[in-house]
Symmetry: C2
Subunit: 222 residues, 2 copies
DNA sequence: AACAATAATGAAATGTTTTTCATTTTTACA
DNA sequence: TGTAAAAATGAAAAACATTTCATTATTGTT
């Protein structure tokens, strides 16, 4: 696991760093808010531990700014006892949880796991444009309207949504959706793409799946 | 929303009670651990606010006991600052969150909503016995083994799992799964039950669906 | 034990989805 | 613009799922 520690008190930061290393994880330390924004541009962290009181920007400001930049990385705020009154503010700023100092490393790990679990299990629908794919019913929904997808259509759309904006080759689709690991003899991938396209366009009046000649498909939304 | 407040300090309990009433919710106050166990037997609460330090049983003991009795009601522990060290213990005892005193009512509401959200979105699988129904893939799973259910079989099993231990009539199944609101002319419900039974028994070597002559079916697990 | 009501079953009929195939359309590039 | 490769399409064939139906088995009651 890749953790970003944003904390200006050296002793706390170093203790955390060592503890993460000892549990087989990897952490990066930064000392102020600006450095947080720089760091997340370079590395994709699993979680950010953010000190409430830091030079230049408060944890809260960093938090808001990250969310404005559409960064969804889970954030846990580290707050001192005197700041307890502002917990609600913290949650509203887009933090996912907070820990009050002093804390044990055991508690930090427990909190991180709780937050990650919440994140992972929070995915029973995938949004795109003004629509969502309901992962339970396998239908595309918009307010009260829905279209049911067949199984293959569902799996295809789900895969596209999990890989928005990147080129996906037919070979990859074949592997991931049909579990076929050798060159295909027929064009069932194209046929399924066609059917999904038709259903989506009839329902949404938009084109989401673009063909990249010789390479594969890209799904575009927003 | 129906809230159970387990708190022996009258002033705190009453303030909460009034605040819940003011926000259109309803709360019940009990003063010790035993009364909590009695109360949950009578009423189905949406959330339980549990004081850590109470006469007769600590909040932690109550928590453990509720979970042992298979009660899954969300629990938020109310702890004093001096008890901060034991947060991990609290989470491990089956509590879903905790709030340190003193707290604002605004914060209580925020926490409750966070916990409820987590609860509701946490359901992309339904466990029964040693197995789980995966709500995304529509398959029954046990470790690495899986069986895929057809759509009707999936909906039927899902409905059974959400209504474990209660008699479900064919009329209700017809309404809820087939969306048919008038007497049926054929026996497709029985046929679907038969097919689901076969798939489940082939896979699990157990019988989960019992017939109640003249009334309907019951799903049993554990 | 005998009966009528209810439930379970196997198999055919119908409806859907998935895959295949022959043909047409689009694309990149000379 | 002409060509070959790649992609899209309509429709048939094959595989699956759902519903119907006739028959057999089970249940509660007398």
């Amino acid at each position: 696991m890749e953790v970003l520690i944003a904390e200006d008190e050296q002793s706390i930061a170093n203790t955390l760093l060592k503890s993460f290393a000892a549990t087989g994880n990897h952490a990066v330390i930064v000392g102020n808010g600006e450095e947080v924004l720089d760091a997340v541009k370079k590395i994709k962290f699993d979680v950010i531990l953010l000190d409430w009181r830091m030079p230049k920007m408060t944890g809260l400001q960093v938090c808001r700014q990250l969310r404005e930049l559409q960064d969804q990385t889970p954030i846990i705020l580290l707050t001192a006892l005197t700041e307890i009154a502002n917990k609600v503010e913290a949650l509203n700023a887009g933090a996912d949880d907070y820990i009050t100092k002093p804390f044990s490393f055991e508690e930090v790990l427990a909190r991180i796991n709780a937050v990650l679990r919440r994140f992972q299990s929070n995915t029973n629908s995938l949004p795109f444009g003004n629509f969502i794919l309901n992962l339970i019913t396998h239908a595309v929904e918009m307010e009260l309207e829905t279209v049911k997808l067949s199984e293959k259509e569902f799996e295809l759309l789900k895969f596209f949504l999990l890989n928005k904006g990147t080129i996906i080759s037919k070979e990859v689709l074949c592997e991931k959706i049909w579990d076929i690991h050798y060159p295909t003899t027929t064009n069932f991938v194209e046929v399924t793409v066609k059917n999904l396209r038709k259903k989506l366009e009839d329902f949404t009046s938009q084109k989401f799946i673009r063909t990249v000649y010789g390479e594969g498909y890209i799904f575009f939304a927003d």
